[in-house]
């Protein structure tokens, strides 16, 4: 919620220790909101425990599409406060906020009450216990739904859908608990309601409820990926779990590998066999895959690696978000190894960017690393049905090679036609050793130079169109924010708010992080006098990448911090306002 714009959106945090069911309640609320014609975003924060740790479902609902979290939460409601102090820093409150607590669950952590938020006591546990089979998370669901103005019908519909398998008794009990929550809400003054929505709003095509990890998997499948090798890792596992059953529907398959060394190399093998191939991982797995990615570059075997970033280094903060695998994605390969690094700019954009990256890897016969992060990957969002994207895997394949066929022929655009096993007369040996145009190992200076030139040329000279960045704002705008990845959405919302106050600012969110495109960059930054570089990294990896590859005009300011604390729109507004006033 922003001041003076009361009904733009509502932000709710539902917290409880693991097993309390706050994620279930959050998911139900998100689906019910969709049924009621709303948009929404749900992120989650969890501790490291497998079961039983602290957990929070963080929702933002609005009548307009939602891509980022708001500055503060309007409502914080707890099943219990066990471990809540460990994520309290991620749930900012203000004097306008409402904390709902069950007096039976003990004191609210001081860090939360210090915000000046109003506290209301509701006997959540008692209300749940009064219902046969009732659970506190369902009471909370009803309570919050009533407070934000969401009617009971869509909630009941979702309960029936979600709990059907558990039987009628479970459905009845949950509905009764939700009812109890609604009744309890009568005693509470709501801080904010969302814009009135018609419960039977059917005037639009069916919206999608999708997470960034599902979106990446879907984009990959739509782009033509038919082989995936997988090794589980938080927070990328859902990409793989989504793809496994869905690949089978289109004639593809997923192999669970013994480690990341195997998964990248299996993907390379399958791609050599002619199937567009992918693996998904996170930081530690990406570190292990580096040698394999170099093999894909050298042997010119297309492969896509979706890397869902988490806090690093080493094991780091596996369950929480950070934008710090940029350096390894860009610079992690030994030797001079031209490849592609892209980054999705929103949950929804995980579809486009992954699909586009499949196209790029296949078209240029090289490795493409797609960067997503825990925030986007594990956030569920309601979106309008995404447009069809024309980018499909399309590899230059030689089907009828002649006697003089050269697998690594030095061509004008650097791409050489590839034969697939089974093609008569097309036999060659793919190699990580430097090779001559025929593919035979070579240590000759000329072969090394020519093949390096060719591999570089195909990536550097490729036509990436307008997709290299999201550039929004007027040409010649003096104030510019440069950012990338999930941070883009907080920046975009911040810029929108500034515009309402009469301050113009341009957004340049870079989707193509490697190779650098200086001409396009210069064009986008034309007239810029003040550039704010925003990223979720302690060391400023993005700023350093920009400084290494581009000439940035004017004054540069860096706004950065490590994860997991998300960057919020209000922070962007404050920095830019202050700077603009100077």
């Amino acid at each position: 919620m922003t001041e003076g714009d009361q009904n733009t959106s509502v932000s709710v945090a539902m917290v409880g220790s693991g097993g309390a069911g706050v994620m279930t309640a959050g998911n139900m609320m998100l689906e019910a909101a969709t049924k009621a014609g709303l948009y929404g975003l749900m992120t989650r924060t969890v501790g490291p425990q497998i079961r039983g740790g602290e957990a929070a479902a963080l929702l933002r609902l609005s009548s307009r599409p939602v891509h980022c979290v708001d500055d503060t939460f309007d409502i914080l409601v707890a099943v219990d406060w066990k471990g809540a102090e460990r994520f309290a820093g991620e749930v900012p409150l203000g004097p306008h906020s409402l904390i709902i607590t069950d007096p039976a669950t003990g004191d609210i952590p001081e860090i939360l009450t210090a915000s000046g938020a109003r506290v209301v006591e509701v006997p959540i546990g008692e209300l749940a216990a009064a219902v046969d089979g009732g659970r506190a998370n369902m009471v909370i669901l009803g309570l919050v739904a009533a407070l934000i103005g969401l009617s009971e019908a869509p909630i009941n519909e979702i309960i029936a859908k979600k709990l059907r398998k558990k039987g009628d008794a479970a459905v009845t009990a949950s509905r009764a608990a939700v009812r109890a929550g609604y009744q309890a809400a009568v005693e509470v003054t709501s801080p904010v309601k969302v814009a009135t929505i018609s419960d039977d709003d059917t005037g639009h095509p069916k919206r999608w409820l999708i997470s960034g990890n599902q979106a990446a998997g879907f984009g990959a499948l739509r782009g033509g990926i038919r082989f995936v090798a997988a090794y589980p890792i938080t927070p990328a596992t859902e990409v793989l779990e989504w793809m496994s059953p869905n690949l089978q529907k289109v004639g593809g398959t997923l192999v669970q590998a013994e480690d990341e060394l195997a998964s990248i190399n299996m993907a390379i093998g399958a791609s050599f066999g002619g199937r567009p191939s992918l693996t998904a991982t996170s930081g530690p797995g990406l570190s292990l895959m580096m040698e394999g990615i170099g093999l894909a570059v050298s042997s010119e075997t297309p492969v896509v690696i979706v890397n869902v970033m988490r806090g690093g280094p080493s094991t780091g903060v596996p369950t929480k978000s950070e934008q710090t695998d940029l350096n390894i994605a860009v610079y992690g390969l030994h030797g001079d190894a031209p490849h592609i690094v892209t980054a999705a700019t929103s949950v929804e954009d995980c579809i486009f960017t992954t699909q586009w990256s499949v196209y790029l890897a296949e078209a240029m016969q090289t490795a493409a690393i797609v960067l997503s992060d825990q925030f986007m990957g594990q956030a569920s969002t309601i979106i309008d049905p995404p447009a069809n994207i024309s980018f499909m895997a399309q590899r230059l394949v030689e089907k009828a090679p002649t006697e003089d066929y050269l697998r690594y022929a030095v061509t004008a655009d650097g791409v050489s036609a590839m034969t697939l096993p089974g093609t008569p007369g097309g036999q060659y040996t793919a190699d990580g050793l430097e090779h001559n145009p025929k593919g035979l190992p070579s240590t000759l200076m000329e072969d090394h130079r020519d093949q390096m030139d060719k591999r570089d040329r195909k990536v550097a000279d490729f036509n990436y169109g307008d997709h290299w960045a999201d550039v929004e704002g007027d040409e010649g705008c003096e104030l510019v924010v440069l950012t990338w990845g999930s941070t883009t959405n907080a920046v975009r919302e911040g810029i929108e708010r500034l515009k309402a106050e009469g301050i113009d600012c341009k957004l340049v969110a870079i989707r193509l992080l490697l190779p650098a495109l200086p001409l396009q960059f210069d064009q986008a930054l034309k007239g810029a006098k003040r550039i704010l570089v925003v990223e979720q990294s302690h060391s400023g990896q993005f700023l350093k990448l920009l400084r290494a590859h581009y000439d940035m005009p004017g004054e540069i300011k860096s706004f950065r911090r490590p994860g997991p604390l998300i960057i919020r729109p209000g922070e962007i507004v404050d920095i830019l306002k202050e700077w603009n006033a100077l």
Binding site: W208, F227, V255, A267, L440
Partner: protein, 277 residues
């Protein structure tokens, strides 16, 4: 070679003209002969074979065969080969390499390739030494073998590849001697034909760093007892053998890995319906 006449299959048809990097007298020359003889014996079309290797002397073999090939990175040949086979189940897939590549840096892939039981053949040219890096002890080296890297020997018990293959689930286990070209060719052909993961250890002497291995030709002998499909009997026999028994030692009946890519099917617009609310 674009086409093979359907009646005549010669080992030489499966070789390229490239001169191997191997030392004169290296056992791997014989292995190359055996591999190509096995292809000829099975009348395989070279375009339908993929030879995949890691890094090391023996891993140079793909470029010497006139098939599709992939000379990958150290230790990862089996992983790449698995990807090829799952993506293109109709191909004959051969993984090849040395003892350091397969049992040390690639050891984990060896265990899981045996366990996964993908239908392919893994040939390890075992010379108990890292040759390409000029003579360091490998997992199969005798504990007392002296070298610059491990003066006085490693003091470590050698790895027993056949026992580990059996314990990990390999479906076909054999040992041959490179000097017996025909015998080795016959075992490789058998291994290719056997469904599932087939493992062939070929004792292939390194004349440069292990001249003592010239004596292998006197030591090797055919296995005294016939092959078995009983893992318990195979285990007993592999644990008690002298390391020079040759022939097919175990032939299992386990079903090969069954998840492969198939024909393109389905409709993506059906798949996306799951996201609609």
């Amino acid at each position: 070679m674009n086409e093979l006449t359907p009646k005549k299959f010669k080992a030489s048809d499966y070789k390229t003209k490239l001169k191997p990097v191997w030392c004169s007298g290296c056992g791997d020359y014989h292995v190359l002969m055996s591999v190509t003889q096995a292809f000829a014996k099975l009348k395989l079309d070279p375009k339908n074979i993929a030879v995949i290797s890691g890094i090391g002397c023996s891993s140079r073999i793909p470029a010497y065969t006139n098939t599709y090939g992939f000379h990958t990175i150290h230790g990862r040949g089996l992983a790449v080969a698995t990807g090829v086979k799952v993506a293109r189940p109709e191909l004959t897939v051969i993984a090849a390499g040395g003892d350091g590549d397969g049992f040390s840096i690639g050891g984990n892939h060896f265990l899981h390739a045996c366990r996964r039981n993908t239908d392919m053949t893994y040939i390890v040219m075992d010379n108990e030494v890292y040759g390409m890096t000029k003579g360091q002890p490998s997992p199969t080296t005798d504990p007392s073998w002296d070298s610059a890297l491990s003066p006085g020997g490693t003091g470590l018990s050698p790895f027993h590849p056949l026992v580990i293959a059996l314990a990990s689930g390999a479906n076909f286990i054999a040992r041959t001697f490179s000097g017996d070209v025909k015998g080795t060719a016959s075992v490789i052909a058998d291994a290719i034909e056997h469904p599932g993961f087939s493992f062939v250890q070929i004792l292939s002497p390194c004349v440069t760093f292990r001249p003592d291995q010239k004596a292998w030709k006197e030591k090797v002998h055919e296995a005294m007892v016939p092959e078995t499909d009983d893992p318990a009997r195979a285990a007993r026999r592999l644990m008690s053998d002298d390391g020079f028994n040759t022939g097919v030692l175990y032939r299992g009946t386990r079903e090969p890995y069954r998840f492969s890519c198939g024909e393109e099917k389905g409709d993506i617009t059906e798949i996306q319906k799951q996201f609609e609310v």
